[in-house]
């Protein structure tokens, strides 16, 4: 079926309850396209979704999926992938899910470099809980829990990933679905942890980080007149990721020598199939205790 798979095959029949205009629609469409374009099939795909408006994506897509507890999507996805190297694993969640309650896992998932893709719908707000500041909210962003702004600098997810040894670090904008899909596709194809931070505006609770704002300010690494972006160039990636004046769209960094965790640990077997009794040489295990 793979050859004929199109993006609608990854769409479930559950109607999204996202607010009309929510960035997550575009984000999801791009993910579905990318999965179809890479020749994946819903039967061999596993989506792990976080908790948040963003986390509802697991319900709206058609595949094997788990919608787990807030912040723990990455460990679940890692477990699925290590046990089932034959399955395409994609993890998706929000900025709160990934960079606040799940921040510890993010750093370690990046380091582990398991061959999966991670798409974060970064709306710089807690959408589902109705508008509190998130770890990527601006310092002066006024919300119910930050009437005068959070007064703490926002996390720079790309820098965090770079510092943790990320091998594929990208940023997209949900409204530029074509480009977003293309980059998610590269994340899927990457040998290792493909990380994509997607600006996915919340039209209900964030009136600062809006479509207009991103449309007007995002610079595509490929359309920058001054420099030819080379994703393999760590220094150039660092410069752009830490650029105080601009935010970029595109693959900022990709390590061409990335070795995924499964390869460095000699994994490759489908762990779901086991014999009907103890392994044949299991008595050797007993003998070790002589």
């Amino acid at each position: 079926m793979s050859s004929e798979t199109t993006f609608v095959d990854f769409k479930s029949d559950t109607q999204p309850t996202w607010c009309p205009g929510c960035g997550d629609f575009g984000t999801m469409n791009g993910m579905m396209k990318a999965l179809a374009n890479t020749g994946n099939d819903p039967d061999d795909t596993f989506i792990v979704a976080g908790i948040g408006c963003s986390g509802k994506i697991g319900t709206y897509m058609h595949s094997y999926a788990l919608h787990g507890v807030h912040g723990r999507a990455l460990p679940v996805g890692t477990g699925v992938k290590l046990a089932r190297p034959d399955v395409e694993v994609m993890v998706a969640g929000g900025d709160g899910d990934g960079y606040s309650i799940g921040a510890g896992h993010f750093v370690h998932a990046v380091r582990r470099n398991v061959d999966l893709s991670y798409v974060v719908m970064d709306n710089r707000i807690y959408g589902l809980t109705k508008g509190q500041f998130s770890p990527t909210s601006r310092e002066d962003f006024e919300t119910a829990t930050s009437p005068a702004g959070p007064k703490q600098p926002p996390v720079n997810p790309l820098a965090l990933a770079l510092a943790a040894g990320g091998t594929f670090i990208a940023q997209t904008f949900s409204s530029d679905v074509q480009r977003h899909a293309e980059i998610v596709q590269q994340a899927i194809e990457h040998d290792g942890f493909g990380f994509v931070n997607v600006f996915s505006p919340c039209v209900t609770f964030n009136d600062v980080d809006t479509y207009e704002y991103f449309r007007g300010s995002l610079v595509d690494v490929n359309e920058d007149d001054e420099v030819d972006h080379d994703p393999a160039d760590f220094d150039q990636a660092t410069e752009r990721i830490l650029d105080p004046d601009h935010e970029y769209q595109g693959v900022l960094y990709q390590d061409p020598d990335s070795v995924p965790y499964g390869d460095s640990h000699g994994l490759g077997e489908d762990m779901s199939s086991i014999p009907e009794g103890a392994p044949e040489d299991a008595t050797d295990l007993v003998r070790e205790f002589y």
Binding site: S12, D13, D43, D44, T45, F46, I47, V48, G52, G55, G58, T59, H62, Y64, A65, L66, H67, G68, V69, H70, G71, R72, P75, V76, G77, T78, G79, V80, K81, L82, A83, R84, D86, V87, G104, H105, V107, H108, T129, H265, G266, L267, E269, D270, M271, S272, S273, I274, P275, E276, G277, A278, P279, A282, T283, L285, V286, R287, F289, Y290
Partner: protein, 603 residues
């Protein structure tokens, strides 16, 4: 004169106490003697002191006792710490040259061995403890070749020279005792003690509870282990690392227990037999995900090797304090199985069982061990671990052809199908036509979020029904010992079994008969009402302060109250409640679950 010999080596942390003790235990086991070891010593003075104690007999030994026959004291403090356990005729081996001369109580026989000096003679001061082992062997008439074998096992991978050096060290220790104390036996005999470690033809294996859990996991087809190091559970991970790979599996050291349990959950969703092991502090963290495991109906084995709590408590001390947490922990009501192996050997069997239960019922299983099982090395006939008898039952996994039987009208797979026995079909990723989402949100048969009161109630009932089914289908019998007609019933759970059994022997000598029920299944568990009723008194033995299992038992034998329950997600309404109570008054017992639907969606 007792047949068993109680031996210990003690010193400061870093003196290589545990590995030396293990060598001696191994040697005894190779000599066909039963061994029961312990490391949990409550220091009476301050931290830093460690000891390894061995009880050995030609008969089975299954507990520690409060008596020391031969003590290797690497420090004066070792003597001081053990003064109460020494008796007239005990032998203390010490090194008079090591800046102190042991002050041993008057009727204890001191044996001064220049450990360091002789070790240097054999090739290096580092072999000092092995000199002491040789000395101990000579004192108890234990053949040195048994010790040689154990030394080879311990040092074999370091080269022949090291093995030979250690053998020589042991020989020098033994020789010194024979030469300097030719009449040692005569002296201990004055106190009625003659130490002889006879060998037998028996062939035993020697292992601890954590190793038995790990071996059980491998036997049961576990392919994925994720864990975060914590005493006393780490040995499970260290055992599996290097072995699970032989079968195509892996061990992942997670960044914390939140991750560990979710990693294992992910692997289990992928279809692997997966487990994690931790101790109390980690169980607290894993509680976050426990409900998800149950509502997503994921088979998962979570081992809790208990230690002293609460909080960081006494990390290297024994306690059975987590029972309430394991039975009731996790918000909401979570169906589960709770198994507590009662011996080192049972750690193996219950682990295999845990994996089968988890998959048969797609429910989390808590496997509860404790520090005293984890650190106890115990001998068994190898046949105890009969790999041929291991059966693996994977439950209702459906393949490409069977998926069709479980689709709804629109061709969608029903992973939470409301079946008679409560168990739904399970389609692993890759199964054609089996796609579905699982979630910690309440869901319908398809796995889609719902707040529909009827569906909610059906799914809760379905999950609970799995436990009811298991209650009927599986054997939850406790282990029974002693005299059925005895006036006194002793009940215990988990690792106390051996100590209770040996206590029963001592009581018998005093003419006290007891009936003993050792409970390995904590949930579901056997109904002990009849046992309790038949006895004059029931005594519950457990390593905790409040008697958590005693509470459970009291609960179980109470007269039943009638219940009104509502779990639709809607509060009680007065008129509804009046109806329900009236129905109880009239003797009608049908549970009712009326209620509206929730409108607000939040997670």
């Amino acid at each position: 004169m007792p047949e068993d010999l109680n031996w210990a080596i003690g010193g400061e942390a870093g003196d290589g106490i545990a590995s030396t003790g293990k060598i001696f235990a191994q040697a005894l086991s190779r000599a066909g003697r039963h061994v029961f070891t312990s490391k949990e010593f409550a220091s009476r003075i301050r931290g830093g002191y460690t000891a390894y104690k061995i009880r050995t007999d030609v008969e089975r030994v299954q507990s520690v006792v409060d008596r020391l026959d031969v003590l290797i004291a690497l420090t004066q403090r070792t003597v001081d710490e053990n003064v109460d356990e020494l008796h007239p005729g005990s032998v203390v081996i010490y090194d008079g040259e090591r800046s102190w001369e042991a002050e041993v109580p008057g009727d204890v026989v001191g044996v001064d061995v220049p450990l360091k000096h002789l070790a240097e003679q054999a090739g290096g001061a580092i072999m000092r403890n092995v000199v002491a082992l040789g000395a101990a062997a000579a004192i108890a008439d234990f053949p040195l070749d048994c010790l040689d074998e154990a030394l080879r096992k311990r040092f074999g991978d370091k080269g022949e020279q090291i093995v030979d050096g250690n053998r020589e060290a042991a020989r020098l220790g033994a020789e010194h005792v024979r030469e300097a104390y030719p009449d040692l036996n005569g002296r201990t005999a004055e106190y009625g003690h003659e130490y002889r470690l006879e060998r037998t033809d028996a062939d035993y294996v020697l292992l601890n509870g954590d190793e038995a859990v790990g071996m059980g996991a491998l036997a049961a087809g576990c392919r994925f282990y994720a864990g975060y190091p914590i005493t006393p559970a780490t040995d499970v991970m260290e055992y599996l690392k290097g072995r699970i790979e032989r079968y195509g599996g892996t061990v992942v050291q997670a960044e914390d227990e939140l991750s560990a349990v979710n990693l294992a959950l992910g692997a289990a969703r992928g279809g692997a037999r997966a487990m994690t092991a931790t101790s109390g502090p980690g169980i607290d963290l894993m509680a976050e995900t426990f409900g998800l495991v149950a509502t997503s109906e994921t088979p998962l084995v979570i081992a809790d090797v208990m230690r002293s709590g609460p909080s960081t408590g006494m990390p290297t001390k024994q306690e059975q304090g987590d029972l309430d947490m394991l039975l009731y922990g996790g918000h909401g009501e979570v169906p589960r199985f709770v198994l507590a192996p009662t011996t080192v050997g049972e750690c193996f069997h219950k682990t295999v069982e845990a994996f089968n239960l988890a998959e048969r019922y797609q429910t989390p299983v808590y496997l509860v061990a404790d520090l005293s099982l984890a650190v106890t090395e115990r001998t068994y006939e190898p046949g105890e671990f009969d790999m041929g008898a291991v059966e693996i039952e994977r439950g209702k996994i459906v393949d490409d052809d069977e998926v069709g039987e479980w689709l709804d009208g629109q061709g969608r797979f029903r992973p939470h199908a409301d079946t008679e026995d409560g168990v739904s079909p399970r389609a692993l990723p890759g199964t054609v036509g089996g796609t579905h989402m699982s979630t910690g949100l309440e869901h319908d048969e398809l796995g889609r979020r719902t707040e529909d009161t009827d569906v909610r109630v059906r799914q809760v009932d379905k999950r609970d029904r799995k436990v009811d089914t298991a209650r009927e289908r599986e054997d939850w019998s406790p282990r029974e010992f002693g005299d059925v007609d005895a006036e006194t019933l002793v009940v215990s759970w988990g690792s106390n079994e051996g100590a209770v059994l040996e206590a029963m022997n001592l009581l018998e000598e005093r003419g006290v008969d007891v009936r003993f029920v050792s409970v390995p299944y904590l949930f579901p568990r056997a109904d002990l009402s009849e046992h309790v009723e038949a006895a004059e008194r029931t005594v519950v033995v457990e390593c905790n302060a409040t008697g958590q299992f005693a509470d459970v038992l009291e609960h179980d034998v109470l007269q039943r109250v009638e219940r009104i329950n509502k779990y639709t997600g809607v509060r009680f309404e007065a008129d509804e409640l009046a109806e329900e109570i009236a129905a109880r008054v009239d003797g009608e017992h049908e549970p009712d679950t009326v209620g509206g639907s929730g409108e607000v969606q939040a997670e």
